[in-house]
């Protein structure tokens, strides 16, 4: 998918391109695209929890779609991380943080650090689970947890939307300034 393409770009030296198409600009463009995907994920997340709250879906099904299922991982013997939202979201975000690190965009990186830290904390403190995933079907219906997850979804949506525009601005700024 996208992932294999990027490492190829990464080693490319940030040599001065004709159109001032620097590595930083590339990072911003990539981040722009990925953030669009994350926005989609966040919306999906919000809808999923809303459905749960309003009773349209069985929490077992819900958590199975939200968590990559163990069986799948086992059956398909490849270590292919099931593209099931949570983990991909975290990985994508971590990925362009690394990109910004490489591009030495310190300000952007700094802005993303809190979310990165939050993601790490969130994953470390997940319930006991044999597979990857965050959500436990037995506790998710607890009103506090449900409300927390919903709030989390909205906050992330807001964050991604803002960062989308920030990346757009950053990309143009980099392109223009160089």
């Amino acid at each position: 998918m996208i992932a294999p393409g990027i490492p190829r770009a990464a080693p490319g030296p940030p040599g001065p391109a004709a159109m001032a198409f620097t590595f930083a600009a590339f990072c911003y463009m990539l981040a722009l695209l990925l953030t669009a995907a994350l926005i989609f994920f966040a919306i999906w997340h919000i809808i999923a929890f809303d459905e749960l709250k309003t009773d349209y879906k069985n929490p077992i099904d819900q958590c199975n779609t939200l968590n990559p299922t163990v069986e799948k991982v086992k059956k398909i013997k490849r270590v292919k991380i099931a593209l099931k939202l949570v983990l991909p979201e975290y990985l994508i975000h971590a990925f362009f943080c690394v990109m910004f690190l490489c591009a030495a965009e310190w300000l952007t990186l700094g802005l993303n650090m809190p979310l990165l830290a939050y993601h790490i904390w969130r994953y470390m403190s997940r319930p006991v689970m044999s597979g990857p995933g965050l959500y436990d079907p037995t506790t998710i219906m607890n009103a506090d947890i449900l409300a927390y997850c919903q709030k989390e979804g909205w906050c992330k949506l807001a964050f991604y939307l803002l960062s989308f525009f920030y990346y757009l601005y950053g990309m143009i700024y980099v392109l223009v300034s160089s």
Binding site: P59, M141, A143, D144
Partner: protein
């Protein structure tokens, strides 16, 4: 007199009983009655039977019924504390002080008027003595005898706002001493004991009846300024006067000893409130069609105090003070015009409430706050007719019987709002309705219930979402009375607890047959304990008693490091064992005959059960492959669903789900770092799979060593099973556990069971469910998936107020349990509870149910200790007390007094929380082993409230001097009722014998100098020294003492479904420490004494 005549409009709901035996009272009563003799509701069968008598002339002549021509007959509220008044002789004469009038002028009563009936009605009332009244009185009570000690003073205030009544008329009515006046209204609920008063129009009387207790108290008569009168906000529009009477029960049902002592007279404790409401009035002020039903169902909430709230007299000057207290307030009350407007009355009501029911108790000063009888649930402050229909508190209970109107108010009160349910409790009487259409609300799917309102005959309004629904044609016909056109008399509308036979729309698949699968651990360790003998024998004995029908299926699996299946194919001469040794990928060795029909293969099954214990005696296999065995069991069961019973004796060590020992013996003392969370999610995931296939797993853990119940327990927790734990089970070394296993297994095997169940809890719009507690899987915000449901499981629900409940007088909760019975019928059991909504903090405190609060907090604390740490949970418990008491202090108490003040309703709160802190689940220190602690937590989550309370705060009785005084009489057996003592060593004396009832276990502690007669006549041994060390049975001797003791103990045992073992302990018994550990008011090495705890709380509260 108009007496016999009923109001033309008919008064369906209230009077219905007489005409309609089935749907109304009796059934319900029996139902309510079933659990224990103590009356739960005042409406006992007796009540109805007396209804008729009440109308007959004798009474009439006595003049107790007052049928004034007034159209508005007042209604009364009859709140009687359960069980209080029974058999008591009527109390000494009291004077009824007629008070009156609209005018603020309280009528002065002359003491001389004692016994005068305060009731006068417009003209119709013949002044006269009414001896019969007495009897009436008593009938309305449940026939339970009251323990001697407690008593109540009866103080009734009736205020009428009607026209002023000349005092003379009042004086005319005198009752002979000892009688209470009764004003009865024709249509009135035929409750004896009721004070009724003609309502609005003709000048009703306002009469504060103040029973005087001549011996002890001087008539407090004059200005009937009694406090307690609460005004109930009536929704009536115009002017029906609001009258109320309050009985001020001095002793309240909790048996306040002190007051009892002071005035020797026994008083009824009933709590009647009269309401001059238009309830029965024909011309009803309410805009609605004159359908009385409707009135009944909505909106009258009368903040009358349950007896328990009144009269919290300090030990010093009990009776007097209490009554004196009331007077001042009463005057206010009288002054109050009977406004129909809700608002005003409500606020006034609040006022008086504050003064009386909320009379704070200074916990530091009043030591004897523990009631002498078991604490009853507070009675919601509803109109008596609604309350009569309300759900039995044993089935459905709310932490706050007055629901706060807004979340802000709830937050201010700092008390948890929640429900405690025991939905599948064994009931001796349960109305079952078979009907092709089950009437439910079209929008919220609520089942029709007693609290809906009928707008007219063809339409009803849902009490949860307020949608107006049509009454189906079929519902118009009442099968019980065979009358057409009385939908409000159908059993569905007359019973808060009812069961429907569900038609096929309620089935996703044909009802499953009962399927039971037993999974036995047969490793070396398991064989050592010898449990297999006991279990197989018990199973063999109860094979015919397993609930089921001709379709019942049964199967067996055993496992050590491999899994053994048993083919019970028809035609085989003996069971065939199939061994599967591939535990990594378990499969079912043959497609059928592993689960076989119980009836058709009984011999083969019996054969297997007989041989099974011997089959593995030489086994040297020490490994245990529990995980794979469970997977195999799941595969076997998944096509049908059913129940898996797993017997496990050690830590699972091979295959999926293998666990490692996490307990470090030296570290179990430290509160942090103990392993309460599961170490793997294997069991949880398996349980969810089971739940999806309608399979429940019950775990019997018989283990000497650490077995990681925290992980194993998940298998039962999420599949709605139950957990049983027998620590250090051994057939020779631990015979007590063997007996316990036998008894509990017998109950387990023979109890009722419901398969493929779901339970939904609905509540009035505005309230929402926050969290569920118990063993189940939550499938959606209000739906629990219960593959199996058993009668011994309780559930708790935390609620929150999402939208403010403005304009609502009452809210309702409904739990509907849909299940397949063991006979293969699909049934729905519906419980509905109705509670009033209040707007002030003081009323919220007034209605607090301390036991339910404790139960809910315990559940929350278990969650907290799993999600955070044990010490967090303990802090949260202590903070719950501190917060609620300081909120009470700062927001409700107007005068800051020194000491630790608690509302009367919460006076036991610190004690119960302290008891929780000292309970195995939450205690600190080295006493509790990890598995034991976790097992106790499982019990907290899964036990119904009654047993949880006993477990937390055991009852202590002195049994060496039992007498028949105040004894109960049940089925010709005399059951002594000793008072409950405080749990403090200070209460123990060396020359007594004490019984401690801790729910699942009882201790009989014999003091060193215990009377010789007790030792020889009850224990059957010559002297103290010869009492055997491990005595667990009392011999049945022919002596009176022995019979009394045994009657009492077996009565306690009969009240619960499990079998509490009785340990007889002496001073040097090893079990003495567990006995003393339950002395929660005393200090222990690591925990505070009750007094120290109070001081600590006080310090925090006063900060």
């Amino acid at each position: 007199m108009a007496q016999p005549a009923r109001p033309p409009t008919g008064y369906p709901s209230q009077n219905g009983a007489g005409q309609q035996p089935y749907s109304n009272g009796p059934v319900q009563n029996q139902l309510m009655h079933s659990s224990d003799g103590q009356g739960y509701s005042p409406s006992v069968p007796g009540l109805y039977s007396h209804q008729t008598p009440a109308k007959v002339p004798p009474h009439q002549t006595s003049g107790q019924y007052n049928y004034s021509g007034s159209q508005n007959v007042s209604q009364l509220n009859n709140y009687q504390g359960p069980g209080q008044t029974l058999n008591r002789p009527p109390v000494a004469p009291f004077s009824g002080s007629p008070v009156q009038q609209t005018g603020p002028v309280p009528q002065v009563l002359l003491p001389a008027l004692q016994n005068s009936a305060a009731i006068s009605s417009a003209g119709s009332f013949p002044p006269g003595a009414s001896p019969p009244v007495l009897s009436n009185w008593q009938y309305s009570q449940t026939p339970v005898s009251q323990p001697v000690g407690s008593q109540t003073s009866h103080l009734a205030h009736m205020t009428g706002t009607g026209s002023a009544q000349p005092p003379s008329s009042l004086s005319g009515n005198t009752n002979p001493p000892g009688n209470y006046q009764y004003a009865a209204s024709p249509g009135g609920p035929p409750l004896q004991n009721s004070y009724m008063k003609p309502g609005s129009a003709p000048p009703p009387v306002t009469q504060p009846l103040t029973p005087l207790h001549p011996p002890a108290r001087p008539p407090l008569g004059p200005p009937p300024v009694g406090g307690p009168p609460l005004i109930r906000p009536s929704t009536l529009t115009a002017g029906p006067p609001n009258t109320q009477s309050l009985l001020n029960s001095a002793a309240n049902r909790d048996g306040d000893a002190t007051s009892a002592a002071s005035d020797g007279s026994v008083v009824q404790n009933s709590y009647d409130a009269i309401e001059g409401g238009g309830l029965m009035a024909t011309p009803h002020p309410s805009p609605a069609p004159p359908n009385l039903k409707m009135n009944r169902s909505v909106g009258y909430s009368y903040p009358t105090l349950p007896p328990g709230y009144q009269n919290t007299s300090p030990p010093g000057a009990p009776g007097m003070q209490a009554s004196a207290l009331q007077y001042p307030d009463g005057s206010k009350h009288f002054h109050q015009p009977a406004l129909g407007t809700n608002h005003l009355t409500a606020s006034m009501g609040g006022l008086s409430l504050q003064q009386e029911g909320l009379r704070p108790v200074n916990l530091l000063q009043e030591r004897n706050i523990l009631p002498m009888t078991l604490l009853k649930a507070p009675v919601p402050n509803l109109h008596e007719d609604i309350q009569k229909l309300n759900c039995n508190p044993e089935l459905f209970r709310c932490t706050l019987t007055n629901i706060p109107q807004t979340q802000a108010l709830l937050n201010k009160a700092k008390l948890p709002l929640g429900l405690l349910l025991h939905p599948f409790k064994d009931l001796s009487q349960l109305p079952v309705v078979t009907s092709s259409t089950i009437v439910r609300c079209r929008s919220c799917r609520t089942y029709i219930n007693p609290f809906v309102s009928f707008l007219d005959q063809r339409r009803w309004k849902c009490n949860l979402c307020y949608r107006v629904n049509d009454v189906p044609e079929e519902f118009m016909y009442n099968p019980v009375t065979r009358v057409y056109g009385e939908p409000h008399k159908r059993p569905e509308v007359q019973n808060a607890t009812i069961e429907f036979m569900a038609p096929s729309e309620y089935m996703l698949r044909p009802p499953q047959p009962p399927v039971y699968l037993f999974v036995f651990d047969v490793s070396h360790n398991a064989i050592e304990t010898g449990y297999l003998n006991t279990v197989c024998q018990t199973l063999l004995d109860n094979l015919d008693l397993l609930p089921g029908n001709t379709r019942t299926k049964i199967g067996f699996i055993t496992f050590d490091s491999t899994i053994h299946f048993y083919s019970l194919q028809e035609g085989l001469s003996q069971p065939q064992m199939l061994i599967v040794s591939d535990i990594e990928d378990v499969f079912i060795p043959m497609p059928e005959n592993l689960l076989v029909n119980l009836n058709e293969n009984k011999e083969l099954i019996q054969d297997l059960l007989r041989t099974l214990p011997q089959m593995f005696t030489k086994s040297l296999e020490t490994q245990s492959a529990l995980g794979p065995a469970l997977q195999a069991a799941f595969k076997l069961m998944s096509p049908t669903g059913g129940r898996i019973s797993v017997f496990q004796t050690q830590l699972p060590s091979v295959g999926m789900g293998a666990l490692k020992s996490r307990e470090e013996p030296n570290q179990r003392a430290t509160a942090k770092d103990i392993h309460l969370t599961p170490s793997t999610d294997f069991y949880k995931k398996l349980a969810l799979d089971c739940s999806g296939q309608q399979v429940a797993v019950d775990l019997f853990l018989l283990s000497g060593q650490y077995s990681d119940l925290a992980s194993l327990g998940c298998i039962s927790r999420y599949s709605a099973g139950s957990v049983y734990y027998y620590q250090s089970y051994h057939h020779k070394h631990n015979p007590v556990q063997v007996e316990k296993l036998q008894k509990e297994l017998k109950r387990y095997l023979t109890r009722k069971i419901g398969f493929e169940a779901v339970m939904r809890i609905r509540c009035t719009k505005g309230l929402s469910i926050h969290t569920f507690h118990g063993n189940f899987f939550v499938r959606s915000t209000d739906l629990l998936s219960l593959p199996n449901v058993n009668p011994d499981a309780g559930y708790a629900v935390q609620m929150s107020v999402e939208e403010s409940l403005t304009d609502m007088q009452v809210v309702s909760f409904q739990s509907a349990l849909l299940y397949t019975s063991s006979k293969g019928e699909r049934r729905i059991r519906v419980h509905t509870m109705c509670l009033p909504v209040v707007t002030t903090l003081s009323e919220v405190y007034l209605g607090a149910d301390v036991q339910a609060i404790t139960g809910l907090l315990a559940n929350m604390a278990v969650d907290r200790s799993v999600s955070a740490t044990l010490s967090d949970a303990r802090d949260a418990l202590v903070n719950a007390v501190i917060d609620s008491l300081s909120a009470y202090r700062s927001s409700v108490l107007s005068i800051q007094q020194p000491g630790l003040m608690a509302p009367y309703s919460l006076r036991l709160f610190p004690l119960y929380v302290l008891a929780l802190l000292k309970q195995k689940a939450f205690q600190t220190g080295t006493n509790a082993r990890l598995d034991e602690r976790i097992f106790t937590m499982c019990q907290v989550k899964n036990q119904p409230l009654v047993y949880l309370m006993l477990m937390t705060h055991p009852s202590l009785y002195r049994v060496d001097n039992l007498t028949d005084e105040g004894a109960l009489n049940i089925n010709d057996r005399t059951i002594p009722q000793p008072p409950i003592l405080q749990l403090s060593v200070e209460k123990l004396s060396r020359d007594g014998a004490y019984l401690m009832d801790a729910g699942s276990v009882m201790f009989l502690w014999i003091g060193k100098n215990c009377g010789q007669s007790f030792i020889s006549q009850v224990l059957g041994v010559p002297n103290y020294g010869s009492i055997p060390q491990n005595m667990t049975h009392l011999p049945e001797l022919e002596t009176a003492e022995s019979m009394r003791t045994i009657a009492f103990i077996s009565w306690l045992r009969e009240q619960r479904p499990f079998f509490p073992i009785l340990y007889i302990i002496k001073d040097d018994s090893p079990l003495k420490s567990s006995f003393l550990q339950n002395m929660i008011e005393d200090r222990t090495e690591s925990a505070l004494s009750y007094y120290e705890f109070l001081l600590h709380i006080q310090q925090q509260v006063n900060k």
